[in-house]
Amino acid sequence: MEKKLNINEMIQENRKTMNFTRIWEKIIPKILLAIAIISILTTVGILSTLLVETIAFFKQVPFLDFFTGTKLKPLGADAQFGVLPLLTGTLISTVIAMIVAIPIGLMTAVYLSEYASDRIRRTFKPLLEILAGIPTIVYGFFAFTFVTPLLRSIIPGLEPTNILSPGIVMGVMIIPMVASLSEDAMSSVPSEMRQGASALGATRLEITFKIVIPAAISGIVASFVLAISRAIGETMIVTIASGSSKNFTFDVTQSMQTMTAYIVEVTGGEAPAGSTLYYSLYAVAMTLFVFTLIMNLIAQYVSRRFREEY
């Protein structure tokens, strides 16, 4: 049975809970802020761990030797830590991936945004999302057991592990990203502009290249830059299909190692903490982090600075 209260008691009762509510209302934003700050702590954590160990690395290996050294031989008495073989490996795999992903991704975006009917768009976009949702390890398996043998039957000099095959597969993996980001940029161009050009007698192709793409260029370029960043940071495909030879070469038929694949190799090999090999891990990761961060900042800058507002 609930106790009957007179009006004064009820007000008192209400005040008590009000006080509690009031304090609670003040605490809640602070708790939420603390939660939100975890994401900043993550960045701080990444930066500080990388920085501390990288500084330790540069105490053992001179800065210039690292960035200009063409030889990477992390084990043995005459160990050498030149990062250039890893940089060229990363650069070449990224370039191959972009040669595949940028034209095909952009043309896909043009088709879906400018040519396809609503129904086709609604069936194709989810299918492309499936392509984007497949784990990278599956692409690695595909590159190693299907694309490499296929390419070897066409290109005779291709080695069993090479940079070409993972580069191509990485490009395929990135197509949906370029396509969907560029498509978003193109779809947000107002249709009045298309209709205006159409009324002046332009064909769809002319509308696309003279009206839509120039108007959406900031989003399109940003999608390319993000794609580059994604390719630089991609790990499993290149680790599996490109092997671990630290060749300093530009020959795509050879095995090369990327920065990411080097990190996998070294952490898999139980590098004793404190050794130069162990620190080199962080120096390479720092280089990788800086490269991708620069790309991401460029993408953000491009999409903000060159955005056309309608």
């Binding site: 609670w24 761990t49 949702g133 990278t136 299907f146 192709l205 940071g233 903490a273």
Partner: protein, 294 residues
């Protein structure tokens, strides 16, 4: 007076129309290219892996002998990992999203947090692995157990949940909030009783998508130093573990020496893809079921 030279226009007209048609087919073929690769990939993996999938493969322990190997260990590892990642990312992700959308819309701190999240989303996953190795595995001396892997993965997928939750919270109509205030509810009561229930489907979709990213991700866990052949099953979050993608990785690189391992890898990929398909279907069902309500 004539403004347009009709003859000139007529002469170029055919060329322009043909180019347009050719371009259209080229664009269509480009679109098909991605899909054809998708079909080839799935056909290739299924045709190689499906005959390996039987009860023994699904429930057996890992083994060096291809015929005896089963994926129960990695499957359990993936489930344990999700058990850590799901509550943690939901708590952190939704908390951050509520803060950014409801409590601090403008100002320097929220915009800094927002930029930071955008940048975190672009950090390569392997760098998160190094963070996990340095902080969780070595710093907290957890060792390469489920908890260390789960914490690493949670930070990796956090941006996905934050962004999905933010979009979902932003989509809750303003009049619902105003009605709640009108009834005398406080800000937190409004958030808890009105905004969160209304945005829950979007949040859940984001959480499931982030989970499917987490169980498909290999690179951060490779870095944590998980052994290639871990036979005991994990029983708690403090046990050593391995996961499906990691096992696929080890089998794939070992297939250069032992051919049958490639089939094992294919079989494991089929299981992993089925799992991902199931999770994404649940996400789509949730989205479709609750989208109509608002």
């Amino acid at each position: 007076m004539k403004y347009v030279d009709t003859a000139q226009v007529q002469k170029r007209m055919n060329l322009r129309l043909t180019t347009n048609k050719l371009a259209k087919s080229l664009f269509f073929l480009s679109t098909m290219f991605g899909l054809i690769v998708l079909v080839v990939l799935i056909y290739r993996v299924f045709s190689q892996g499906i005959q390996w999938i039987d009860l023994q493969f699904l429930t057996g322990k890992l083994s060096t002998f291809a015929e005896n190997a089963g994926v129960m260990g990695p499957l359990l590892g993936s489930f344990w990992l999700m058990l850590v990642v799901a509550p943690l990312t939901m708590f952190l992700g939704v908390g951050t999203a509520i803060y950014l959308e409801e409590y601090a819309k403008k100002g320097r701190i929220p915009s800094f947090i927002q930029t930071n999240i955008a940048n975190l989303a672009g950090v390569p996953s392997i760098v998160f692995g190094l963070l996990g190795l340095t902080v969780f595995v070595k710093g907290f001396s957890l060792g390469n157990v489920v908890l260390a892997g789960g914490l690493t993965m949670s930070l990796l997928v956090l941006p996905i949940v934050v962004v999905a939750s933010q979009e979902s919270i932003r989509a809750v109509p303003q009049y619902l909030r105003e009605a709640s205030y009108g009834m005398g509810a406080t800000k937190w009561q409004t958030v808890k009783n009105v905004v969160l229930p209304a945005s829950l489907p979007g949040i859940l979709t984001g959480v499931i998508l982030s989970l499917s990213r987490a169980i498909g991700e290999t690179a951060p866990l490779v870095v944590l130093g998980i052994p290639a052949l871990l036979i005991p099953f994990p029983d708690s979050i403090f046990d050593k573990f391995t996961v499906m993608p990691l096992q696929i990785y080890y089998w794939t690189i070992d297939s250069a020496l032992t051919k049958e391992y490639a089939n094992l890898a294919a079989g494991a990929i089929v299981v992993l893809l089925m799992l991902l398909f199931l999770m994404n279907s649940i996400a789509i069902i949730i989205r479709n079921k609750y989208q109509r309500r608002l």
